[in-house]
Symmetry: C2
Subunit: 456 residues, 2 copies
């Protein structure tokens, strides 16, 4: 499975693969709604000015222009025209715009989930597509947003990921205040620069990061070493606090960050044991994060990259003096589904929603067959009717080819029988009362037992 996309970076699923994706999407929606998150969608299109507010990402944006622009009312998309239209590259920036525009209609703190496609004109590779689906949850406040929502968001995501047919995972959590306070405490004031360097740790290693810190940010050996020591701290409980303190740095912002991260980790140890680690190397490239930052790895699939990222942003959305601080996390649905499919981690119990094919005895029996089908559908049993009165063997073969487990027969006397074509067992049945076993009623998506994680 997972055939090559006919357009590189734009994956499309076969129907049985789509069933796995639908299961993932339905599961996420269910968990999000149980936690009181409202669904919204934003338009796929933003103005270039809106998208580029935070800088850096313009390389990846797809601009729009009408192919035959004969009315002159829309300009071609270009990075220099802030009113030009472009496709959104994430769901956070559009959500911030939506909140500001609709602030008068929303009840704050506003909890929403948003599951949509986003587009990035990047070079495609495994785990990185040009069109992909994200599933985001965020809580946004009006003026302020209690820190408790940072804790809650992490717990909701841990619950949502636990419900998916995926390998074990770890939320790796850090806090920008902690890191920035620490850097200031050791005398490195270009905290964004330090974060950018630390963000490269996994790619280029500690020695090269130390080199960067010294050459580009003027850090001393000691400062570089201290920054790397901080980034080396990783604990599954709140013992990171003592480890940071042992580095002997004091700073108010550092204390605030330590306290926040401790709250998240303490709650996670209790409510999502084993799913969360404090990882002080996590930086997140995007510069709108102001506190909690999160990345998530699938255990045994670390090279896939983060499958869920996000954090706290206190200044992304504002309307005059009114601020809308938020915290949110975004699940990379396409990245997850691609991995599930390419490694057969889960599969659908059948390839179509149909449970029953009603066979035709002769061509005139189509109406009667539709009556049987309507009765079954009325009780929630997905049913289709054969289009041609071919020999029963052919109609059974048709059901088999489509992956339909049951075939229904009605003889000239109106006697009904249903055959489980997997076992060959055929029994008398009443369209008003017969039902398949629960596991055959609708498509089940189950984790493959033989699934083995690919070593990192």
């Amino acid at each position: 499975m997972a055939r090559t996309a006919s357009l590189s970076g734009f994956p499309e699923w076969l129907p049985e693969e789509r069933l796995v994706e639908l299961h993932v999407l339905d599961t996420l929606r269910k968990v999000f709604e149980l936690h009181g998150f409202s669904s919204i969608e934003t338009r796929a299109v933003e103005t270039v000015g809106q998208l580029l507010r935070k800088g850096e990402i313009d390389k990846e944006v797809y601009g729009l222009s009408r192919l035959q622009d004969d009315e002159g009312d829309e300009s071609k998309a270009g990075k220099h025209d802030p009113h030009a239209l472009a496709l959104h590259f994430d769901l956070t920036v559009p959500f911030a715009r939506y909140v500001v525009e609709n602030a008068g209609y929303l009840a704050f703190p506003f909890r929403r989930y948003q599951i949509q496609k986003v587009w990035r004109g990047e070079r495609p590779q495994e785990g990185r597509a040009r069109e992909f689906t994200q599933a985001d949850i965020d809580v946004v406040g009006d003026g302020d947003l209690p820190f408790r929502y940072d804790v809650e968001i992490a717990l909701v995501i841990a619950e949502a990921l636990s419900a998916l047919p995926i390998p074990d995972f770890r939320l790796r959590i850090n806090n920008r205040k902690l890191a920035e306070g620490f850097y200031r405490g050791i005398g490195l004031d270009d905290t964004a620069g330090v974060l950018r360097s630390i963000d490269k740790l996994e790619k280029i290693g500690a020695a090269k990061v130390a080199e960067l810190l010294k050459t580009e940010l003027g850090a001393s050996d000691e400062q570089a070493q201290a920054a790397l020591s901080l980034a080396g701290i990783r604990t599954e409980d709140t013992s990171f606090v003592a480890q940071v303190r042992a580095l002997g740095v004091t700073n108010d912002l550092l204390e605030e960050g330590l306290d926040e991260l401790e709250q998240v980790i303490a709650a996670a140890v209790q409510r999502a044991p084993g799913k969360v680690v404090a990882d002080l190397s996590i930086a997140r490239g995007l510069d709108y994060y102001t506190g909690t930052v999160v990345e998530t790895v699938l255990v045994g699939h670390e090279q896939l990259g983060s499958i869920c990222s996000g954090g706290r942003y206190d200044a992304l959305a504002s309307k005059g003096n009114r601020k809308f601080p938020g915290v949110g996390l975004s699940i990379g649905v396409t990245r997850l589904v691609s991995r599930i499919l390419s490694q057969d981690l889960a599969k659908a119990s059948r390839s179509v929603p149909t449970a029953v094919l009603v066979a035709l005895t002769d061509d005139d029996s189509w109406g009667a067959a539709q009556d049987v089908a309507a009765q079954l559908r009325g009780r929630g049993i997905a049913t289709e009717v054969a289009a041609k009165a071919e020999k029963f063997g052919k109609q059974i073969k048709f059901a088999d080819r489509r992956g339909i487990p049951f075939v229904w027969f009605t003889d000239d006397d109106g006697k009904h029988q249903v055959k489980d074509i997997r076992s060959g067992v055929q029994v008398d049945a009443d369209p008003a009362s017969w039902a398949p076993a629960d596991e055959d009623l609708s498509v089940q998506v189950t984790t493959a037992l033989h699934a083995s994680a690919q070593p990192a």
Copy 2:
């Protein structure tokens, strides 16, 4: 409700409006799956060459280009570059491409539904957006596709529309073979030209269409009159057959079309009484239809335009000599939802998924409150926990503002009570067993009783 979109032609819904849209989408999905249609999605992007295969639509297409194209590996979208990328403007053309590409993996006749956004760079107006959601069902065969699927598709759509919170509707059905055979039978061989003129009947009236037929297609008075007589036939049963025969035209293709349309209408009279009319004025502009053609109006909202259109296409998809004839219908979800919202035809029973807010007695009770919430969620009750231990009155006000019907209290002795904040009734409750009434468990979307159809 239905505020002005901040970008003309790109509607966005408030959370409580989105609940209505979700209800429509969930209902359609359920009906489609009960009839054995598989979900697929295709990429939002097609090549310009693929999109323009059928001509005429290029004015409406949005082309894509990367804002900062510094790698030179992608050209700017342009109508003269068939490899350039553009957003799809419907779901039929992408589906045809998908079928051809994946023919080796699909079991035919292949039944699929597809619910996605499409984009058209048209001038926005009521009922016509630039970004909108379509919900399509199609059946595609390999080589041939029995006509019975034309009948079935119409019945499935009638059932799906009947399940939605919308006013009464009529599927207006015609058949291209019938019309083309008739035109040939009266000596008008440019049947596409005649269809294009007849398609303008509702807009410009019979007199001007007769003029067009005479000036542009060289029709005689008698020919123009005959074509208009045919277009004037509209019956709720199969009596259209006799009315056409009374016009005295004979042609083999006409006979074939009469027989097909009779089959659809006969089945509809029986299985979807009152929902379908034979309307011989229906032409459909797009030229890939080869038999059955359908448009659908909401009764009392005719000026909204068709809310569900489609038909039989025998030659849209092919791979060498291999043909994949299909039949399908497309529901204009955004057009329907816009109308439901702007005229308050239906509404959600509350504005958030949350049924219960667990209040905090003091700040330290957050963990215990999460335990209560987890118990409720475990039984399918959407629950959120207050973030701050404010006075109970304030926490109740918060629930009220968010539209949450129940607030849960736990006192210091661990005694639980739940308050219905609409009635004010507060009762003892056990988090392991308490449940709201069925109608409060999840959001209900109901047709407004006072909804009055707008006169046409």
